[in-house]
Symmetry: C2
Subunit: 382 residues, 2 copies
């Protein structure tokens, strides 16, 4: 695995991530394929949105269908019919969020399955082994991710344990050409802890570095200020992945602070609940004002559904609880996220990111296109 | 609208249905797009299965989003992004099945919406007008469809009312080039009633003739024997549509008795509940025996998903309640139905339908392919 930088604009970087399973332009947004499927969309359509890499969840996959079964089925790529790169998380973050269902010790975490209550254990070694069995292109180090706000003592102890776990994860990782493993910087919103964490990880040495423990309730301002000092601690020539982020505005701000990779359930989850992302902010398509709106969601859509479905039709599908509503809107939202990343990347290459960012933010704030602003002719029956 | 016969084999006919919205080879199976969407599948994929014409439900569409709104959105074709022909039912059958929620009189039916309890009325005139507003390529006459078994008196009175309603439906129909209207033969399983019904309809004159009031609980044997005497009562040079039918074996038997068009929710509904149609009968993909079955559903699949997804993956998707399970299996089942119709049509043209029918039935009875019979190599991870 190798990341190559094409251009830089301020802190923002445009590059290519080359892997065993293909190359991906960065910055890149990774749709979340929790349990071996991106909910509500075929992998053909995920590809058609322009996505180059998707994410899988170790926690979900180890429970069902189990890592061993995925391996026997030929790995995650073969199983879900996605030949491109796949990044899997380590399970650490999701096990954390089980609350009273999990017990942590120095060696790892014991937890109960949310499906059937059965007992399971994750350690740096077993998490790495599971990701190997899934055939993850990018394996994540197993870490502990404390909820914010937390006292500095708690953050420090947690970060130090995560660094010991990172070393054990690296030890357990089986290097293969075109595959890689990322370490995860922890330390909450404490600069000195982030510094120590980044140093510890660089000393171990990974193919890329993730920033964890953010977007867990601290707010965008604190997230951005943490990124401001954290990304410069990471190697210039390797990819940086901001985990679990975020809104279009979060992504833009994080790219401008030097992050290259992102994942979030937001666009797909919103798609299942009638919320559409557009160049003009979000629209709730269940809203009565869309009942006879013959316009497509966005005039700038260039996805496979561009110009084909009216807002009124989508409104109808959601009102009638038809599966096609979530299916189409998931496609739309993932396509919007990919379009945004392409736009940002082009601006980095052109050296005009500041200007593009100002325009993007201005348009998000404007709200839905008025009739006068709508740039396409509107056809009616007749 | 015009139906052209290409070949005949026994009673079975191969032809083309030419319409304003394109031409469709017959015999043809019409996927059911209840409320402006075939559940769980995009119209692109409906087309990719080989389907040439789809069905819409007047009852569902008049309630939501309403015929007037569909008209304002440019008609059903534009609204659902299906440029091909659409047949709409008249609402009569579905209103019937509302039971105590409906009240029938000579002029029409008053009923309460299953959605919000609001009161609505359907008459031959309003049903025909609704189908006009939906822009149906093929409009169905409004009829009454009694449940079987029923006394002959009940069947006779109902059939006679349906024939009066058929005349009123024809009167209300606005003829347009490439559009058409079908009358519906009623009379239950009584030969003389079917005879009188067919004569009455032919006297009115339609672009095609449907056989209604079957597949309502009478069993396949009685359905077939009714078809045996009913199809010869219908014009040789016009299409015949057997409504609401059925299993692959039902379709085969009905084609061999001279029917050309079919619709049924079976393949799409089965797809949502993990039941797969194959050349070897049906498989329930939730069954544990598929958990590690790396074979695709059928080696004869030629749909867009052919060879891409293992039974084990589909099993996993259904067990995990992932939307992609119903999505993929709906596609698979609709593709199987279309493949079956193509196979039957080719056999009619080749004059070998009897032999093909025997082979099809023999294979359905065999059950799932054994390992030895499986005609494709099986690859495992290596």
């Amino acid at each position: 695995m190798h990341w190559q930088k094409d251009a830089q604009c301020g802190q923002a970087r445009a590059g290519w991530l080359h892997t065993r399973h293909g190359s991906v332009p960065t910055p890149t947004f990774m749709p979340v394929g929790t349990v071996g499927t991106v909910k509500g969309i075929t992998m053909d359509n995920v590809r058609a949105t322009g996505a180059g890499i998707v994410l899988g969840n170790t926690y979900h996959l180890m429970l069902r269908p189990t890592a061993e079964r995925v391996q026997r089925l030929g790995g995650l790529h073969r199983m879900m019919d996605w030949p491109g790169p796949i990044l899997t998380d380590s399970g650490g973050f999701q096990v954390m969020s089980l609350g009273p269902l999990r017990k942590m010790d120095e060696d790892g975490v014991t937890f109960r399955s949310h499906i059937d209550g059965s007992s399971h254990r994750l350690t740096p070694e077993s998490s790495t082994d599971i990701q190997y069995k899934l055939d993850a292109t990018i394996t994540m180090a197993f870490d502990e991710c404390p909820a914010l706000p937390a006292t500095k003592d708690v953050l420090e102890a947690s970060m130090e344990r995560s660094m010991r776990w990172a070393a054990r994860s690296r030890e357990a990782f089986i290097a293969r050409p075109g595959y890689g493993q990322f370490g995860i910087v922890q330390g909450g919103t404490e600069q000195d802890l982030r510094e120590r964490s980044a140093l510890a990880l660089r000393k171990i040495g990974f193919e890329g570095y993730a920033i964890g423990g953010l977007a867990v309730g601290e707010g965008q301002e604190l997230m951005f200020s943490t990124l401001d000092y954290t990304t410069p601690m990471l190697p210039e020539d390797q990819p940086r992945y901001l985990m679990g982020v975020g809104t279009p505005d979060d992504l833009l701000g994080a790219v401008m602070r030097g992050c290259d990779m992102f994942d979030c359930v937001m666009p797909s989850r919103a798609g299942r609940t009638a919320r559409a992302y557009t160049e003009r902010g979000t629209l709730n398509l269940r809203n009565a004002r869309f009942a006879e709106d013959t316009r497509p969601i966005s005039p700038e859509d260039d996805s496979p559904m561009a110009g084909r479905y009216s807002r009124a039709y989508l409104h109808h599908l959601f009102r009638a609880n038809e599966m096609l509503g979530p299916m189409l809107l998931t496609l739309h939202n993932l396509a919007y996220y990919q379009r945004l990343m392409r736009q940002i990347r082009a601006a980095i290459v052109a050296g005009t990111l500041e200007q593009t960012a100002a325009e993007l933010r201005q348009n998000w704030a404007k709200g839905d296109w008025s009739e006068d602003e709508w740039p396409m002719p509107r056809y009616q029956q007749g």
